[in-house]
Amino acid sequence: MNTLDEEDGCAGCKATVTPKWRQDFPIEWEGDHYVSRREMVKFLTLGSLLLASANWVTVVASRLLHRGSYVNRYIGSASALDQAGSMLFRYPTDGDPCIAIRTPEGKVVAYSQVCTHLSCAVVYDKAENGLFCPCHHGLFNLAGQPIAGPPTRPLPRVQLEQRGDQLFAVGMEAL
């Protein structure tokens, strides 16, 4: 379609052809609404593309964060845990703080130390017999389930293996 107008010196085309710039700046309200809504649909679709891409970035990030994880890792001795009541370690990477606890029943359990509310570090509270988050007073029982405060999701559990006096982390339970 020819978009020439009087500025281009096409005197013959003057009455029939609308310049391209004028199509985007119409005089009538109806035409103005038509253009602005069309532009908005284009803008929102671009936003939609960015949001979908960001969603896939989270998938890639999750793969990169935990690539090569779940190797067996020595976390400490059972006797040291008995003395202290709880023990901090890192698993599966050095950026993932965890806590191991000797329960009153004599079992050893371990969880991620990252609170499922806003990622503060939980600590073992002997009086409450649970894991306490000091930031917002969240409390998890020794099965990792939230029982008080804002957290709604359980703590990720670390799978342990005891070989003699040595404790090893061997995996994380999938959420």
Binding site: H33, K42, H66, L175
Partner: protein, 75 residues
Amino acid sequence: MSLRRQGTTLFSAMLAFVGAAVVLQLWLLTVSMEALLSGAYKTLIPAATGSTVLLLINAGLLRYVFRFDRDAHGE
């Protein structure tokens, strides 16, 4: 009713639909971010797939807008 007038009505409806889809995508992204930070990786791929489906619907509607424009200019 002129083709342009029809287009105005059509684009209003389309804009509402695309806007709702983008809000839904935004919600999916916040869910994904929360899942990523809490280690609940099982939800990430379904959320990303859902977001991509919404993108494809939006892209299909945008394609329709371009085609409609072409027809309107040819009117």
